[in-house]
């Protein structure tokens, strides 16, 4: 308005973070430095956002396992988000949306199923899996006339639903471990065992390594008989067969959001090669959170419901306070996901980092370089 006021310069309203080069990121990984810079603020953000994430993942995990086990091949799973509790009060809370957005868990499951990398996906395409499916479908179609009608018409339909259920269950098992790990992390930070970003990364790495060999199995009851979908003899394990594909599908590749890029093939804004996708959690733009067509908004809302008071207060003191809290949660979440990625990379170096053998060093360098080249185009601006 009138004179005497300082004019607003648009450029002052805009903040650009750094964009470290791939070589710099590679060096950080090899030297054991954390990707996220050390600071007291970062520690609060990462630990507290992971704590709320842990609580949300607990609910997601319980629900995914419930869906895979109790809603298996149900044609109309109306109550799939209720975890078997059909109490009218719970249904009411569900209807007025006083609930966790389990849709986001399914969205991540679909990302894993669609990108289909790693041991789990390989097993889902194996003959052994096909044989299991055939047995399950035989028994199931005897009971269910609708499925009995659909199965001969669409041969691929029920096996695909079983693959979906298997991925759902595997993701549920993965998140069970991660949920406990993140809540343990918050406890460790509260009692002083974790006091730096490096300690956070180390804590998560230890948790991942400890769970690395956990078997991933999945069986269902059909008409009182137990069938294996992912049997123990398939030899699927936590880290290689589920965690790594999850990171690939959800952290790195992801799926483009409606309204942010053109889905029109002629616009060529989306690579026809799925492996080139870079829309995952580490690449996503936090600013449009809560906009239409941005599925992670669901997760941000869920984490907002479980936000620890310390972080909530921290947010209230910054930018728009409560007004843009979900965008800030998304920014903190992105930082914490860099820490988780950092821990996963640390835990999966082919050779010990302190090895002095040239061959081991070369192998580690190649591994770090491969990661660094992918991370160089991610939202590394949040790491400063």
């Amino acid at each position: 308005m009138g004179g005497g006021l300082m004019p607003i310069i648009s450029a002052e309203l805009v903040h650009a973070g750094g964009k470290p080069a791939a070589a710099e990121l590679e060096q950080q990984l090899l030297s054991g430095q954390t990707l996220l810079s050390e600071s007291a603020d970062h520690l609060i953000e990462v630990v507290d956002v992971l704590k709320s994430y842990g609580e949300v993942l607990d609910a997601y995990s319980i629900n995914l396992i419930f869906q895979a086990e109790q809603q298996f091949l149900l044609p109309f799973p109306l109550f799939k988000y209720l975890d078997g509790d059909k109490n009218p009060a719970k249904i009411w809370r569900h209807l007025i949306h006083d609930r966790i957005n389990f849709e986001y868990a399914e969205y991540c499951m679909k990302a894993m199923l669609w990108h289909g990398t790693g041991g789990l996906d390989a097993y889902l395409d194996s003959d052994a899996f096909a044989a299991n499916c055939a047995a399950i479908i035989r028994r199931k179609t005897r009971l269910d006339p609708l499925l009995a009608l659909l199965n001969p018409l669409f041969r691929g339909f029920l096996p695909e639903l079983i693959r979906t259920a298997a991925t759902t269950h595997a993701l549920g098992q993965f998140w069970r471990v991660m949920s406990d790990l993140f809540i343990d992390l918050a406890e460790a930070e509260a009692d002083g065992r974790v006091a730096s970003i490096d300690a956070v990364v180390e804590f998560i790495k230890d948790g991942l390594v400890a769970a690395a060999a956990n078997p991933i199995t999945y069986g269902v009851e059909v008409d009182g008989e137990h069938f294996w979908v992912l049997p123990p003899e398939a030899g699927l394990t936590f880290l290689v067969d589920v965690a790594v594909p999850y990171v690939e599908a959800v952290f790195l590749r992801g799926m483009p959001f409606l309204g942010t890029v053109s889905f029109n093939a002629q616009a060529q804004q989306i690579s026809p090669d799925q492996a080139q996708f870079a829309y995952g959690a580490l690449f996503a733009d936090p600013l449009p959170s809560m906009g239409a067509g941005i599925p992670p908004s669901l997760l941000m809302q869920d984490m907002f419901r479980h936000l620890p008071e310390r972080l909530h207060q921290w947010y209230r003191e910054r930018t728009r306070g409560e007004g843009d809290v979900r965008v800030k949660i998304c920014m903190s979440f992105q930082k914490s996901m860099f820490c988780v990625t950092n821990a996963a990379i640390r835990g999966t170096f082919p050779q010990p980092l302190n090895s002095s053998e040239p061959a081991a060093q070369a192998a580690n360098r190649a591994y770090a370089a491969a990661w660094a080249s992918r991370l160089a185009t991610a939202r590394t601006d949040c790491l400063d």
Binding site: G2, G291, R320
Partner: protein, 513 residues
């Protein structure tokens, strides 16, 4: 009763100017708000006393002021001026409400605002040509100050341009009024229509021509619109609200009251040409708006287009078209004020109005989502979406004009379609997509920028919400306003219709049809 509509703001202005001591800007604003609140309440009381069944002037007050030159203090209100008085009271209050953080000469600022409001009331209520002219000129100088003191960086240029254009407009109008006295040989400056018996057609055409250009500048109509975009761009938001919402209406009011009302015969003769002029103005305003990069200039050019509808309706002069013209004056006042308020909020928060720079302001948490929502409502109303004020007025203008001037009406309808084009461009560029307030250099690096705009406080949007509510209310319940103006617009329509019938009879003395 009507004199208080002048006295309240003018006495308010005087007391602000003479307020003892050195009161704070906030105190000045409060006083102005109280005065304008009183003015609005009094306008509503006048509305209550207003008899919608009467077509002529009501609640008249008069005394002879300077009888020798024909200057009578004669006030009255009819269905044409009543809605405009209400709009004036409401929008001046809105512009005082949205004047915040004024720390430069607040005393003069608010006093000038009140002077303008009182002068505009005077112009709308005056039943004497010279009295109208006095008030018409009285509003000019305060507005020049408001632009040239509290305006943007280029305010001196814009204010001077405004002054020159409007002064020429004033001279032409005064010239026409005095010319009328000279040619008719009487100093009767009342609103009595001038017939051929009093003045030959040639003289009527000359005087009407001067009035048309004079009011055409104020409206503004192409090609006299040049001052408006600059004035709007440099004026602060409250002044733009007043300028678009109220002051332009002096021009359209003049067209209806003085051009058409005083010279119905010459008006009927010129009507086909005026309709084409209206269509040209509509199309020019719309096309120019499409080309704008500055949001405020775009809204300003849209005014040029939308004021053209009123000339079209006046040219057609059917009862429906004239009622449409009144509706268009009210709805344009509300809608353009709403749009300028919203552009003002965008400018205050982002420091720019450049459409090549602004993006994604609808961003739910970091942008200006509620402002964007109101903006979408405002542009839909402006583009004539059913359910809002713009639709009612445009529909009536077109419905009332299409039989008289089908080509000009169809061309004006194209202009209405173009409104959707430029305002969708505005909304699409500034409000959709990824949030940005700086020029795009590289898609990837721009996509990484964190944008931290200050939030819009609820109180900042309250005036805009009030206007948006009025826009929807008139759109859904137009009958109230219709009833208010129907009698007046019907009787106004009878003037040229009567003239046309007489001409027809003169051409075909043996009687046809």
């Amino acid at each position: 009763m009507l004199s208080l509509l002048l006295l309240i703001p003018l006495v308010g202005a005087l007391s602000l100017a003479l307020w003892p001591g050195n009161p704070s800007p906030g105190r000045m604003r409060t006083v102005a708000l109280v005065v304008l609140g009183l003015q609005l309440i009094w306008s509503l009381l006048v509305l209550l006393r207003f008899d919608t069944g009467l077509s002529g002037m009501q609640l008249q007050e008069s005394f002879v002021w300077v009888g020798s030159i024909g200057l009578d203090y004669r006030l009255g209100v009819d269905g044409l001026s009543m809605p405009l008085v209400l709009i004036n009271s409401a929008l001046t209050l809105v512009s005082a409400i949205c004047t915040r953080d004024i720390n430069q000469r607040p005393r003069i600022y608010f006093a000038l605002l009140l002077v303008i409001s009182g002068a505009v009331n005077g112009a709308f209520l005056a039943e004497n040509l010279l009295l109208f002219f006095l008030f018409y000129e009285l509003e000019l100088i305060p507005l020049w100050f408001l632009i040239s003191i509290w305006g943007g960086a280029n305010r001196a240029y814009a204010a001077t341009k405004f002054l020159i254009f409007t002064a020429v407009s004033g001279i032409l109008i005064l010239g026409a009024f005095l010319g009328l006295a000279l040619l008719t040989g009487s100093v009767d400056f009342s609103l009595t229509p001038v017939t051929s018996e009093r003045l030959a057609m040639g003289g009527q055409l000359v005087l009407l021509g001067a009035l048309l250009v004079g009011f055409g500048i104020k409206v503004p109509l192409f090609p006299f619109h040049n001052w408006l975009p600059d004035a709007h761009t440099q004026a602060s938001t409250p002044v733009s609200v007043l300028l678009a919402g109220v002051l332009l209406k002096l021009g359209t009011y003049g067209l209806l009251r003085f051009c058409m009302g005083l010279f119905p015969e010459a008006w009927a003769l010129l009507a086909p040409g005026l309709a084409i002029w209206a269509a040209v103005s509509v199309l020019f305003g719309s096309l120019a708006a499409i080309a704008q990069q500055d949001m405020k200039r775009m809204v300003a050019y849209s005014s040029v287009g939308h004021m053209g509808y009123i000339l079209l309706a006046a040219a057609a002069a059917t009862p429906v078209a004239l009622l449409g013209a009144v509706f268009q004056m009210v709805s344009h006042g509300l809608i353009s004020a709403l749009l300028f308020l919203l552009v003002g909020i965008v400018y205050r928060k982002t420091g720019t109005r450049d459409l090549s720079v602004l993006h994604g302001l609808l961003n739910p948490e970091r942008g200006l989502p509620f402002t964007g929502t109101l903006m979408i409502l405002g542009v839909m109303a402006s583009a004539g979406m059913p359910g809002m004020a713009g639709f009612i007025s445009e529909f009536m203008v077109f419905r009332g004009s299409i039989t008289a001037f089908p080509l000009a009406t169809l061309l004006s309808m194209v202009g209405s379609g173009l409104t959707a084009v430029y305002f969708l461009l505005l909304v699409n560029r500034a409000f959709f997509g990824r949030l940005a307030v700086t020029p795009a250099s590289d898609a990837v690096s721009d996509g990484r920028l964190d944008v931290r705009l200050a939030p819009v406080a609820p109180r900042e949007t309250i005036p805009a919400m009030g206007l948006a509510f009025a826009v929807v209310a008139i759109g859904l319940l137009p009958s109230g306003l219709g009833k208010l103006s129907e009698a007046a617009s019907t009787s106004m329509a009878q003037l040229p219709a009567l003239v046309a019938a007489l001409q027809l009879a003169a051409l075909h003395p043996w009687g046809v049809g």
